[in-house]
Amino acid sequence: MFNPQAEAMPVKELRKLQGERLKALVARAYENVPFYRAKFDAQGVKPGDIRGIEDVAKLPFTLKPEFREQYPFGMFAAPMKDIVRIHASSGTTGKPTVVGYTKNDVDNWAECAARSLACGGATAHDVVQIAYGYGLFTGGLGMHYGAERLGAAALPMSSGNTEKQIMLMKDFGVTVLCCTPSYALQIAEVAAQMGEDLLKLPLKSGHFGAEPWTEAMRKRIEELFPLKALDIYGLSEVAGPGVANECLEQHGLHVFEDHFYPEIIDPETGDPLPDGQKGELVFTCLTKEGVPLIRYRTRDITMILDEGPCPCGRTSRKIARLMGRTDDMLIIRGINVFPSQVEDVLVRIEGVHPQYLIVVDRQGNLDTMEIKVEVTEALFSDEVKKLEALRDKIHHQIKTMLNVSAKITLVEPNTIERTLGKAKRVLDRRKLT
């Protein structure tokens, strides 16, 4: 544990601390951010109404489009002289969401990223290869500061240049790997082409996140690398990577809730849901000064695990592996499909590397789903009938697992677009018409 005093704090004490921090946060937001003042007033709630953490439910939600409307600095509660860093989320639609960090914000974030790395057993002795992108995206710098805070050696690789990643991983004796799970698989693929045996390397833990993945993918990564593959969660609006991380139990992600207070709500009604029930994850950033985020709706679907204390000794609550997004759920002929389910099926089929693209279209009144799967050497056969059998097997498995009939198209390697190691999974052409 990086900070046992905070991470193993008795729950009662933790709730008291959260309550105090929430009071200060609300006062800060109300005073300095016109956006929050207007929302609080509209809801008829005053900072004085907040007496403890249980009062969080009285506060209005913050939605991503609202955040974006405040572009560029409308959400900032601190003057620019106190802002030491600015990140922005990838603006795929319209303007990005811009987050400013004060010195304290960067410190708290580094602390949480260090806790994340320590969740996998990392210490000052480790060499941490950071293959998340560096830049406006929070992945690279977030883990970088975490590794340094831990006292470990940070190797700032950023994403891409895979052959060099592998060379340095080997030559520098890297012990901890941080990247997206799909990029981990790509590293393994290239290593195999280079004739490098990753299983001989001294790797011990991997922190994989920034995109949804599955248990099957974890199993695959752990077969390809000699490490414990851990799920890490974060989002730039809240801080970046290090909001939550799995411990070595590999059963749920500990939320560093002295800084990031989690709630699960019904995405339709906004009502808070009890632990153990699936819904939308909402965060309140208790200590944030630059952008004090209140009840931010992440659109991520998960649940707070309703279980006893974790054997690892951390007292913070755990969230389950993300189950999808409130907004990436595809409805194909009335059936709900999450891309992660498709991925799960693909990874289970021997040899199928999960580089895939789901293309959804509408012909007449009928939705069609096509899944393009890249053919790697592992599954290529020189015989037509074997490739057709593979295609039919994928089709059958998808049909069985998801109850949707999909056209399976085998495509050449590297034809599916990858952006910053984050593969694009869905192309929904229905939205264009």
């Binding site: 082409q193 290529f380 015989e383 037509v384 490739l387 198209t409 085998l410 495509v411 050449e412 590297n414």
Partner: protein, 143 residues
């Protein structure tokens, strides 16, 4: 005796075959024989070339999915029923042909047929037993 054939996965998209052949050409590798198996969705290009390793290297480094397959090249007698005789011998030995393709050899004006078997060694034994000559690999690469 066993000829190393390069197989390449092709998406059914215009320009894919040209792209593969261009890479092979750029590497200075000459094609000896070629066959294309296609379905509505994808194709498999099978090549016999003069420099197998160089060809594979050129294709892999440009991101193509390739594999090596062992095939046999048999010279077919230049008379009616020549090929049928060979297939009879194989059938008598209980051997199944996965696929085959033919090309004409410039030097001898004879037809050469490339066979792919599940069990290459059993096929060699059966062909030898039937007195059918299998072309040495070196001969095929330099045809």
């Amino acid at each position: 005796m066993k000829v190393r054939q390069i197989s390449i996965f092709l998406e059914n998209r215009s320009g894919r075959l040209a792209s593969v052949l261009k890479e092979v050409g750029r590497a200075g590798v000459n094609i000896r024989a070629l066959s294309l198996a296609d379905t509505s969705d994808f194709g498999i290009l099978r090549l016999i070339v003069d420099d197998v390793d160089k060809g594979v290297q050129a294709l892999k480094s440009t991101g193509h999915t390739v594999s090596l397959t062992e095939v046999l090249a048999v010279e077919v007698p230049d008379r009616p029923g020549g090929l049928a005789g060979i297939l009879d011998a194989l059938s008598a030995a209980g051997l199944n042909v996965e696929y085959m393709y033919a090309f004409v050899c410039r030097a001898t004006d004879k037809a050469v047929v490339v066979f792919r078997f599940e069990d290459v060694d059993a096929a060699i034994a059966a062909l030898k037993k039937a007195g059918i000559s299998i072309l040495p690999a070196e001969t095929v690469y330099s045809l």
